[in-house]
Structures are given as structure tokens and as C-alpha cells.
Symmetry: C2
Subunit: 187 residues, 2 copies
């Protein structure tokens, strides 16, 4: 199969992303929500245009995403979130979250959208929804010299366990209902 | 400049897209809305990982986008639209609009989002916002053997001219306010 991927970059942290993609597909098919993974931005430098066949990109580079992994629409609400997975047991590092991603999420919050992190501790098989506000406390503490990771305990206390269902392995809309829509964070 | 693009594909219909990107940047900076171009999806087949430097994508292919060009958040509303430009004077062809893009837009409409086309007749320097409903009439007619393009006249009658401003060359949020939010299409 010529199109088989050899792309380790794209496969990093693949399990959570794959589970969310499948969940989103289920949400789409069951007409609950329209939420998609944004494509990874790529800067194309060189392309071949062979006769009678598809253009072949010959040189390109991954770009840092300026926003988040996923966005879409649920019950009239704009949904925007970032997914992070770690093999650590005690904490998740803040190092691979970018400043402009956090700025983006602050904007989403300000303009009336629903924004959060989905964080998986893969060794414990536990996945949380962590709203932006408790995340920001740790993020801002880090910027003032605080710890460079968020403890699992903090996430367990300030986040919400996302239920696993066979059809929706990361059934996060259940939590969105409870926390943001019925819970009154969004009015 | 090594990163200079030779990418004709990416430059196709570049003027409208560039003007919308600039407009979105202005909307973002002036805190009016958070709307971004979605990256073009690319299927990566082969990547080099040189020591001490960035991964180089050596073989990749453009994929058909399964959704639309732009989405985001405005005054709490989910916004999702497709931009099309033509050098024709009389009509815009339906040929480069994909079935799954239209299906996507129907879903956005159904779930309470605001969705539309931005269509530019570049020779006349006129840009319209065409809501989904009048577009669908022409789209469905085409599927039943009707014409394969939308006449300029039809767009002028059923769409709305988007004002040009120096800072917001395609000031479409003005039209979104009038048509969808204050105009009662969204309640
Ligand atoms: Mg991620
Ligand atoms: Mg387009």
C-alpha cells in the first residue's frame, strides 16, 4: 500500500486522538454534534505535477498549530478543545502546550464558546475533561515560576472523568452537558 | 528563501482567501470574532527525521477537504463558510463544490450554526454572501439535471453584497449581523 504512513509525528499520542475521532464520527452519524479534528498545518515548499496523476508534495514542513486540535458545533454551542495524553502517572507536563493555543482558548471563552482540555493518563486508562479556568491557574502559576506540570490529583479534583462507552470511547459531550450547559457555566 | 512556495495548488483563488484571512486577522485583533482558515488536509506518506533539524515531509498528497474553508466563533454563534472565486462574469460553476461540503453545511445549519458561501466575481470586484438555503435550491436543481453553475443574477438577488473596508476587505460580519442575527434567521 503506497499510501501507508511512515509518519511517526502524526502517530504521536495517537490512541486518544483516534478514540476522539471515532467518538466524533459516532456523534456525527447519530446527529448529536458536528465536531472535527483540524488538519495538521503543513508548509508546502515543493510540489510535482505529474501528467495524468495527482500532485505530489516533495518537500514540506510541519507547522506549529496556532489553535487547538478539535472544534465544532453542539446544540448551537461552539466547542473547541485540545487533547493531551501522557504515560506519566503523577502529572502531565505543560511543555507541549503552546502559548498561542492558550491565548486561542481564552478568546473562545470570551466570545461565548465552550473550551476545555481532554487529558488522558494512558497507564491508568482514565480520561478527564479539564475546563479552561482550573487549567489557567496552573498555567499562570507556571509562568510565575511554578511547577511545569499539572498533578494528576489536581486534575481529578478540578476536572471530570469522561465516561467510556463502546460507541463513544471518549463520551465527552455527556460532561459538556453536565458542566457547561446544564451546570450553568454557559448561560 | 528556502521556504518560498512553489505551490500553485495552494495559490489557486488566492486573492479572496487572502482578503478573508486579513479580515479575520482584523476581527481577531479588534476582538470581534475568532475565525480561522482550516489547514488544507494533506496525507503524509514519507517523512525524513534529520538529526538536529526539523522533520522533512518527502512525499505527501492533497486530500479533498471534507468540510469547509473557514470556521469559528462570533457573538456566541458558530460560524462556518466556504469561499469561492470566479473570473467568469455571468455565473459561478458548481463543479468545484463537493457533495460532502454541502452535507457538512446542512449539518451546521441543522445544529444551530450560521453557514453560508462567500462568492467573489473577481472581474467585477463584487463579493457576495449567499446563505445556504438559496444555494441549496440551485444545488438540488443541478442534481436533478439543472444547470451546472449559479448565475450572477441569482446571487445578486438572493445574496448580499459584502462591503469593502480598508481594514476589513471582506467585511462579512456586517452582513451576518443584518441577515442572521438581527434579521431573525437565527433566534
Ligand atoms: Mg493534542
Ligand atoms: Mg474555497
Amino acid at each position: 500500500n503506497k499510501h501507508q504512513t511512515k509518519d511517526a509525528h502524526a502517530n504521536r499520542g495517537m490512541t486518544l486522538e483516534k478514540d476522539i475521532n471515532e467518538t466524533n464520527h459516532y456523534y456525527l452519524e447519530s446527529e448529536q454534534a458536528v465536531i472535527h479534528k483540524k488538519p495538521t498545518p503543513v508548509q508546502v515548499v515543493n510540489v510535482d505535477y505529474p501528467k495524468r496523476s495527482a500532485a505530489v508534495i516533495k518537500e514540506a514542513y510541519y507547522q506549529k498549530p496556532s489553535t487547538t486540535d478539535f472544534n465544532g458545533l453542539y446544540r448551537g454551542y461552539h466547542i473547541d478543545f485540545e487533547a493531551k495524553e501522557t504515560k506519566n502517572k503523577q502529572s502531565i507536563p505543560l511543555s507541549n502546550i503552546h502559548d498561542h493555543q492558550v491565548e486561542h482558548m481564552k478568546r473562545i471563552d470570551k466570545h461565548g464558546g465552550i473550551t476545555f482540555f481532554i487529558i488522558r493518563f494512558s497507564k491508568m486508562e482514565t480520561t478527564y475533561l479539564l475546563p479552561l479556568q482550573p487549567f489557567l491557574k496552573m498555567w499562570e502559576a507556571q509562568q510565575n515560576g511554578g511547577r511545569k506540570s499539572i498533578p494528576h490529583d489536581y486534575i481529578a479534583e478540578n476536572g471530570y472523568v469522561i465516561p467510556f462507552r463502546l460507541q463513544a470511547k471518549v463520551d465527552y459531550l455527556k460532561v459538556v452537558d453536565d458542566v457547561f450547559i446544564n451546570g450553568g457555566e454557559i448561560t
